[in-house]
């Protein structure tokens, strides 16, 4: 597949924005300005970029607590995401969601779900509605390797296959659950690809650190979905640069393994490729500078934003805007 250069630049731009955004999130967590927890997708940006850039408006992404990259790259405003991490009034969910629940429905970022596996059937349901309504939308669901062992995975992929739903299940296999290696808890090599046949699906493995490879797999899966040929289950091999969450140093991982993967940084790889394809250093520098400025601005805006209005505590449990359980 010959990927046009503007698409490639869009992917690079997306990866760089995500990288800087999450590096800042990490710093802010260490400074105590992001509270609670945060799960970074540093190192996994190519998966988010490949899928997001291949997506159309109206398509729907479902992701996990490790969902900053995906939400940002679907077009959610960075300052509102940063505000949500910091629990400020400018947060995309008014501070009520937090780091694990970033959502921007207006952009098709259908939510970040923090109970492992739960969003797979939800994503399938959105695809089912697309099918029934004949809308041509595709629903994409991102999740981790460890998620393939929970029941909801099995139920969702099966029904999606049987009903030919336009949904793409994307397993970001970063080799670890929280602190335990996936290889310790499965009896096959590939947590997703080696299960695909159980649902009559093809086992697809893609280099998740190569944005082009991801993009190509994404395009093929979108086409399949829109043609009415049903779901895909794609396993993207990748790695998280940091620990699982918060201040986890990730010490359960062998040093050599970490080094190997750091050498395969998806952004470095892609920068090299773009240069080799004739994109100038200046263009790339400009993308990077703009991204950093955007992150700085988002940080400032969120630092300056007040905490959420206390009134929002009791809003939006119900569609009437309130939370009353009595008449």
């Amino acid at each position: 597949m010959d990927i046009p250069v503007d698409i490639r630049l869009e992917m690079y731009d997306g990866m760089v924005r995500a990288r800087y955004f999450e590096q800042r999130a990490h710093d802010l967590f260490m400074q105590g300005l992001v509270k609670g927890t945060t799960h970074l997708g540093l190192g996994q940006e190519a998966v988010a970029a490949g899928f997001a850039v291949a997506m159309r408006p109206g398509d729907m992404s479902y992701c996990t607590y490790r969902g900053h990259n995906h939400t940002l790259l679907r077009g959610a405003p960075m300052d509102a995401l940063m505000g949500e991490l910091m629990g400020r009034s400018n947060g995309i969910c008014e501070g009520k969601g937090g780091s694990m629940h970033l959502t921007d429905i207006s952009k098709g970022a259908m939510g970040s779900y923090a109970i492992v596996g739960a969003h797979l059937p939800v994503a399938a349901g959105a695809a089912w509605a697309a099918q029934l309504r004949g809308t041509d939308q595709v629903s994409v669901c991102f999740f981790g390797d460890g998620t393939t062992n929970i029941g909801a995975f099995h139920e969702a992929v099966n029904i999606a296959a049987v009903w030919d739903l336009p949904v793409i299940f994307v397993c970001e296999n970063n080799l670890y659950m929280e602190y335990t290696a996936i290889s310790e808890v499965i009896a096959v090599d590939h947590p997703a690809a080696d299960r695909a046949a159980a649902y009559g699906l093809e086992g697809i493995i893609v280099d998740g650190n190569d944005a082009d490879a991801v993009y190509e797999a994404a395009v093929a899966a979108y086409e399949r979905a829109r043609a009415g040929d049903g779901p895909s289950l794609i396993e993207a091999l990748t790695y998280r640069h940091k620990g699982h969450s918060r201040a986890d140093p990730g010490k359960y991982r062998p040093d050599e393994e970490v080094e190997e993967w750091l050498k395969r940084d998806p952004i470095d790889i892609y920068r090299e490729r773009l240069l080799s394809l004739g994109v100038t250093e200046e263009i790339l520098n400009e993308i990077e500078a703009k991204a950093l400025a955007e992150v700085d601005a988002a940080t400032e805006a969120s630092k300056n934003a007040p905490p959420p209005d206390t009134a929002v505590l009791l809003t939006d449990v119900w569609a009437d805007g309130g939370s009353s359980w009595r008449n």
Binding site: V122, A319, S324, W325, N327
Partner: protein
């Protein structure tokens, strides 16, 4: 006006709404071709076709997750869980996802969906197919909960649930499916969060739900013969809760008993009692009495099950004792 069974009222309520709004769809195990294991969805598959009425695998997380996703993308889906006991197999989707998503997204997500399920005991099905679990749902912020006691209420509350923009769980009582009653012709649409005073009385308020409404009414008739005038309230909806009707009644009668099929601990009766003990304490002339199933799983044998679930006699005795 025509006579209709509670069972047929389910299908009529669903058909009424499916006719009106093509976004209303129904999925569940054996709901389509077979018309449901309790025959509550008979005719819908034939009338609305395989796209709108569809059988699923035995995958309750998929059923509930799919209706959530579909509600996020323009449908108004109804999912059937064959028995309310199976709520436990998809409780994460129901409580952590469906119930919380609007709030956690700052109001971005609307989830106009309905979960219907056969609830309650009396059918000798044993501990895993007989539970009354409306208290579980009541405990979860973000879920609306109704439990109709009559055919007309089945239709009206089903319609209200389907039209409501929030997730609603409709508990259909297995023990009432065969009950018949007069039902008005034409469209019936009721209002969530409204209790109904089914019998006026002055001495004591008896609050009940679903099958227990009939038990309470029977008891009230007997109590009437004993000179005790009982007011019977059918709550109909646990969330939203019609506290006005409840508190008004207690203010008048000064006595309260609740009759629930939930096992004792933290059944919905506890919430009603605590509400009155807090907000209407000075209206009360005596202890609030809760009549519940004991805190046990339900046994299968008929003689044991009948002993477990609150009976007319038990209600009469308890109310006599508190009025004595």
């Amino acid at each position: 006006m025509a006579e209709l069974s509670y069972r047929d009222a389910v299908a009529r309520g669903l058909a009424q709404e499916m006719e009106r709004d093509e976004r209303v769809v129904l999925i569940g195990e054996d709901v389509a071709k077979a018309g449901g294991v309790f025959k509550t969805t008979v005719g819908l598959y034939e009338r609305f076709g395989p796209r709108r009425v569809r059988d699923t695998p035995i995958s309750e997380e998929a059923i509930t997750g799919m209706i959530m996703g579909a509600a996020m993308n323009g449908l108004r889906p109804v999912g059937e869980l064959m028995f309310s006991d199976f709520l436990a197999t998809c409780w994460d989707i129901v409580t952590n996802q469906i119930a919380k998503t609007r709030y956690m997204t700052g109001g971005q997500v609307e989830l106009p969906l309905v979960i219907r399920t056969a609830n309650g005991g009396g059918a000798r099905f044993g501990g895993q197919h007989s539970q009354s679990l409306e208290n579980w749902a009541m405990a979860v912020p973000g879920l609306k909960v109704v439990a109709p006691a009559t055919p007309a209420d089945v239709i009206g509350l089903m319609a209200a649930a389907i039209r409501d923009p929030d997730p609603v769980i409709v508990f259909e009582h297995k023990g009432l499916f065969a009950n018949k009653d007069e039902v008005p012709d034409g469209e019936i649409v009721d209002t969530l969060g409204t209790a109904r005073v089914l019998r006026r009385g002055d001495d004591v308020t008896i609050v009940a739900l679903a099958a227990m409404v009939h038990t309470a009414l029977d008891a009230a008739r007997i109590l009437g013969g004993l000179g005790i005038s009982a007011e019977v309230i059918d709550l109909r909806s646990l969330v939203p809760l019609d506290t006005t009707t409840l508190l008004d009644s207690v203010a008048k009668t000064t006595r309260l008993a609740t009759v629930e099929e939930n096992p004792r601990l933290v059944g919905w009766g506890a919430e009603i009692s605590s509400l009155v003990a807090e907000e209407a304490f000075w209206d009360l002339d005596g202890p609030i009495v809760r009549i519940t199933t004991p805190h046990i799983p339900l046994p299968a044998a008929g003689e044991l099950e009948d002993l477990a679930i609150p009976s007319v006699e038990q209600v009469v005795d308890a109310v006599k004792a508190m009025s004595g």
